[in-house]
Amino acid sequence: MYRRQHGRLALISEPQRIYSPETAPERATLDGALDFQRETLAWKCSGLSGEQLRERSVPPSHLSLAGLLRHMTEVERGWFARTLVGEDRKPLYYTQERPDDDFDGVDSQDPLESYRLWREECAESRRLAASCESLDQIVARRRNPADPAPSLRWVMIHMIEEYARHNGHADLLRERLDGATGE
């Protein structure tokens, strides 16, 4: 996965982004849009050194690109594994005592490892979503059985807008690091 790019060691190589199909039914459109957003985050992280990936380049914000990879790993796990199908998979990076360690603990992990674990979690999320027959399916886990709970449709759109929002952060983090821009 390591390769030379622009004269420095690039941890993450440039991914292939594919736009969501323009005239597909609901489910294929949502699947395509979510994957496009995932690949956009990978693209924003590509070609940088470990040090750059960990840099909090828009202070006073404590966000960094590696922090975003770690955060989205938790978001994938929280929504698809724990909530949608009810698996008992604990958070990787944060605890009750240190709820922001997905962002704040970036110095304790090689960003390449953060990236690898994020990719694995995305693959697992795709598998779990595909195991649901309908977008109307209500998630398995709810805090209180009497409360309303989201459908898979809600989870998918939420994940798309969650990634897109953080990719907006990634845009500005990246521009500050090396001037690179682009949608």
């Binding site: 039914p25 459109t29 914000s61 109307d136 809600w154 759109i157 897109a164 952060h169 500005l172 500050r176």
Partner: protein, 175 residues
Amino acid sequence: MSSITIKESVRTEAPFDVAERPMLESWLDYHRETLAWKCSGLTADQLKERSVAPSRLSLLGLLRHMTKVEWFWFGRILSGADPPALYVSRDGHEPDFEDLDDSPPKDVYSLWETATAEARRFAAAVDSLDQRAQKNPWMEPPSLRWIMLHMIEEYARHNGHADFLRECIDGSTGD
């Protein structure tokens, strides 16, 4: 300078278990309101500030940009309408984020509100999410479904920019 009166927006998260169309509409409105919220309570100078240099983005620029994006997708592409000429470039550069002194923030906000109202009207006139747009921007004419989802992504992405712009202006955060 007194702060401009962009109202404190009332944001409602999309309901959990509604059908496809009201779900998309709710999420899009949520992100429209999020942009208004990120702009609320600031002075005109703060709204124009390019607070994450070297980026040319500003909150006022984002409002101007999204006004044109609303007209582009719902007016021109979906409905084949001719949008009003807004924020026209004087010398070939990207006008949405430049020339910020040309229009007072109150007018920018008002034009954005008009654009969102018109966009809702254009969308409501289309029977089905499967219906194809009237025009083809650079690909197959997309369905209304694709346009709605694209608009959610477009707003959310720019609201990520708005988060950082706002935090660098006055330290306020929140999603």
